[in-house]
């Protein structure tokens, strides 16, 4: 009824997206950037991160690309606040970023390794999602 219920709704969606995206990126960075050896236990974790990230990226790319295309339920995976922030932050680089994120999605689908350029694009999403969650938290707690 008060604004806080809506802000709480936004915060939970934004924080969950930020956490999921960041955890997957973190796991994959260990493997592809730091070249950490994968134990049999960690193998399943890496596969889960790849699949989760691929799924989130597919939704994100759909939501970011040409707005004239019709909306699909998949796009609801990405909170509207995160999309707004990405649109504002990327402005002139939006089309290149979408291309790069598409390339990362393809690599994930093919089981290929991710390179530094891929992680640079992924980090841009992580940062936007994190900033969105933090902003919602500040509004929620008024700090």
């Amino acid at each position: 009824m008060s604004d806080l219920s809506i802000i709480a709704h936004d915060y939970e969606l934004n924080a969950e997206f930020a956490r999921k995206f960041n955890d997957a990126v973190l796991n994959l960075k260990r493997l592809y950037l730091l070249r950490r050896a994968i134990t049999p236990d960690a193998h399943a974790e890496i596969e889960k991160s790849r699949s989760e990230l691929q799924h989130l990226l597919e939704s994100l790319v759909l939501a970011l690309q040409d707005e004239d295309k019709s909306w699909t339920a998949d796009q609801a995976q990405v909170p509207a606040d995160v999309l707004d922030r990405l649109h504002k932050r990327l402005k002139g680089e939006l089309s290149e970023t979408i291309l790069e994120l598409r390339r990362v999605t393809d690599s994930l689908a093919k089981g290929a390794a991710l390179d530094e350029t891929a992680f640079a694009a992924l980090d841009r999403v992580c940062e936007a999602a994190d900033a969105t969650a933090s902003a919602a938290f500040r509004r929620l707690r008024r700090i």
Binding site: S5, H9, A18, R19, A76
Partner: protein, 373 residues
């Protein structure tokens, strides 16, 4: 030398344990529903502190390529601990008679409406009217809520926030689909008709407001009206009278008059057309008293066609979810809260002057049923 992040994590661990210790002390003396909430929070906090330990032990914590991502993890964990401290711990430590009564009342409402998840805990500690904190499983109410009936329908609205959030694919996502389609059609038609760029921008702005937060507020009103019936429409009128301008909107909330229209759509679908018309009549009175006028572009901003589509979608989702509407609750002898809420509004409309006597005895009756001493 340990990194800043390492020290921040140590501080977080200390803060988390401090909250955990306070929660442990509270175990004795709490009623069952409060203790269940406490146990859930302890479990969450313990998991969060285990993650903090994992981060502290991570050999890559200070690696420059990963450190910013670890810092993001720190922030989410830190937010959780602050949220626990500011909401759960606050209510559990107080656990006043009012909090116990309102929590039991909400638990009963959940049973009556067919909300199958554990009922959120209620605290009469809000300084900002009603608030639903979905992540913490808590609803904050105004401080005098335990001794008043006419605003009780708003508790149904807050419970509906949990439905929208937890059953997002059944409730929120289909609404977003309808809204996106509606505005995409409007833009397409606008372009075909050669509307000026400024008009297309207004359509886009409205689109953003509807998909931003408005759809959630409309849907929560609609679920609450499905559960609570005409009493919700009346409580909304009462609240709107206090808020003033019925046409004023903001980024989080649509105009009260548009919310009225959404509520009326549900009442009609539920077979409460007569009550809906009566509420509409009272709204005409309220608008007559209000100096504000409908702003230009209002009817385009709040399309009745879109509201009707949303209402049908919410109504169907409620039926599919197995929620009980007011008519079904009326047939159940056990639905004494919904009966009390409906009776309260009837009593108020019949004789507002005599209402306080009705209200105090009805509340005493509810207390004796829900929190017998």
């Amino acid at each position: 030398m340990p990194s800043l992040l390492h020290n921040l994590l140590l501080d977080l661990k200390r803060r988390g344990h401090c909250v955990l210790n306070e929660l442990a002390v509270l175990e004795k003396g709490l009623p069952a529903n409060f203790n269940a909430h406490r146990a859930g929070v302890v479990q969450r906090l313990t998991r969060a502190l285990a993650l903090v330990d994992d981060l502290l032990a991570d050999p890559d914590l200070a690696d420059p390529m990963l450190e910013p991502n670890f810092f993001m993890d720190f922030k989410r964990l830190s937010e959780l601990i602050l949220n626990v401290e500011d909401s759960s711990l606050l209510i559990l430590k107080r656990c006043s008679q009012e909090d116990r009564f309102l929590s039991a009342l909400l638990q009963q409402i959940c049973c009556e409406v067919g909300y199958k998840e554990p009922a959120p805990l209620c605290g009469a500690l809000s300084f900002q009217y009603f608030q639903a904190l979905m992540g913490m499983d808590i609803i904050m109410t105004p401080q005098t809520q335990a001794s008043e009936l006419l605003a009780l329908p708003d508790l149904y609205h807050e419970l509906a926030h949990f439905v929208l959030f937890r059953r997002r694919t059944e409730f929120e996502v289909p609404l977003l689909g309808l809204i996106h389609k509606f505005f995409a059609d409007a833009i397409r038609k606008g372009k075909q008709q050669g509307l000026p760029e400024a008009s297309l921008e207004i359509i886009e702005e409205n689109h953003g407001l509807w998909t931003g937060s408005w759809h959630v507020e409309f849907a929560c009103d609609m679920v609450a009206a499905y559960w609570c019936g005409p009493a919700y429409g009346l409580a909304n009128l009462r609240l709107s009278a206090t808020r003033g301008d019925p046409y004023q909107d903001g980024s989080t909330h649509p105009a009260d008059d548009a919310r009225r229209a959404g509520i009326e759509c549900i009442l009609k679908l539920a077979g409460e057309s007569q009550a809906s018309d009566e509420i509409d009549g009272m709204w005409h009175d309220l608008k007559r008293l209000s100096p504000s006028a409908q702003p230009a572009g209002y009817s385009k901003r709040y399309s009745m066609r879109l509201l009707e589509q949303l209402a049908k979608c919410v109504y169907d989702a409620c039926v599919k979810a197995g929620f009980r509407g007011l008519a079904a609750q009326r047939q159940s002898e056990n639905a004494f809260v919904s009966r009390t809420v409906s009776d309260a509004w009837k009593a108020f409309q019949h004789d507002a002057g005599a209402f306080p006597t009705f209200e105090s005895s009805a509340i005493e009756r509810l207390k004796s049923q829900l929190v017998p001493s």
